[in-house]
């Protein structure tokens, strides 16, 4: 766990959150990455994306979401492709933010 950014969350606190809360928090970082990309601040975009992936990895590892793992892993792949890859999946940072944002709203209900 040496390269984990969110050390406190990785130690167990992340597992206290439900899926909406987890994905909502991931979406916050995806949104930040999208905003920094728009402003062409690539280093800051990378930092936000690293934080998003750090949290997404914790969610993928969460045994409670075993049956949804395929979708979570696809989300990670599309995320990486959209920001850092060849845009093979023709998705956009804004769409990805919308995808995660619905969970943030659900988490607040």
């Amino acid at each position: 766990m040496n390269n984990v950014i969110h050390k406190d969350l990785a130690s167990g606190r992340w597992l206290e959150m439900n899926l909406s809360q987890q994905l909502g928090n991931i979406g916050s970082e995806v949104g930040r990455a999208a905003n920094w990309k728009k402003k062409e601040k690539i280093e800051m975009m990378d930092a936000a994306l690293n934080r998003a992936l750090d949290l997404l990895n914790l969610t993928i590892a969460d045994k409670r979401w075993r049956t949804g793992r395929k979708e979570l892993c696809r989300a990670r792949e599309v995320l990486v492709d959209t920001f850092w890859g060849d845009k093979e999946y023709n998705d956009t940072p804004e769409n990805l933010e919308k995808y995660f944002f619905q969970f943030a709203v659900a988490a607040k209900k």
Binding site: K7, L9, A47, A104
Partner: protein
């Protein structure tokens, strides 16, 4: 592992830098109580700082989440973006702080508190 610091008075800029370096490197998460002018910095999630301030007699309706990027200039260093800001009952339906008056209040509080040694 990390720490949340609550500031009721001045905030040394060096402390913002230290808290940023401690956790995310380029930024520190903050929650501001716009009623009592209290600022919590350094949490892993804004929700952690929110909880600290609620335990410190803040009211949730007065708490707003921001990110501070110490390497950027004012006011660009303040990013209004946090999950705790999503509050449909206060008519705030995004992660930003949609009310301009509240945004200005947050900036006013931070500008007043942050000082460079």
């Amino acid at each position: 592992m990390g720490e949340i610091v609550i500031f009721t008075d001045k905030i040394p800029f060096a402390e913002i830098k230290r808290l940023a370096d401690l956790r995310f490197g380029d930024m520190v998460k903050g929650v501001i109580d716009v009623e009592n002018s209290v600022v919590a910095l350094g949490g892993e999630l804004h929700a952690d700082e929110e909880a600290e301030l609620l335990n410190n007699n803040s009211k949730q309706e007065n708490l707003w989440g921001v990110n501070i990027y110490p390497d950027l200039v004012w006011p660009e260093m303040i990013e209004f973006d946090s999950m705790i800001n999503i509050r449909p009952n206060q008519n705030n339906r995004s992660r930003s702080v949609e009310d301009e008056k509240i945004r200005n209040k947050i900036l006013e509080i931070l500008k007043d508190k942050i000082f460079y040694e």
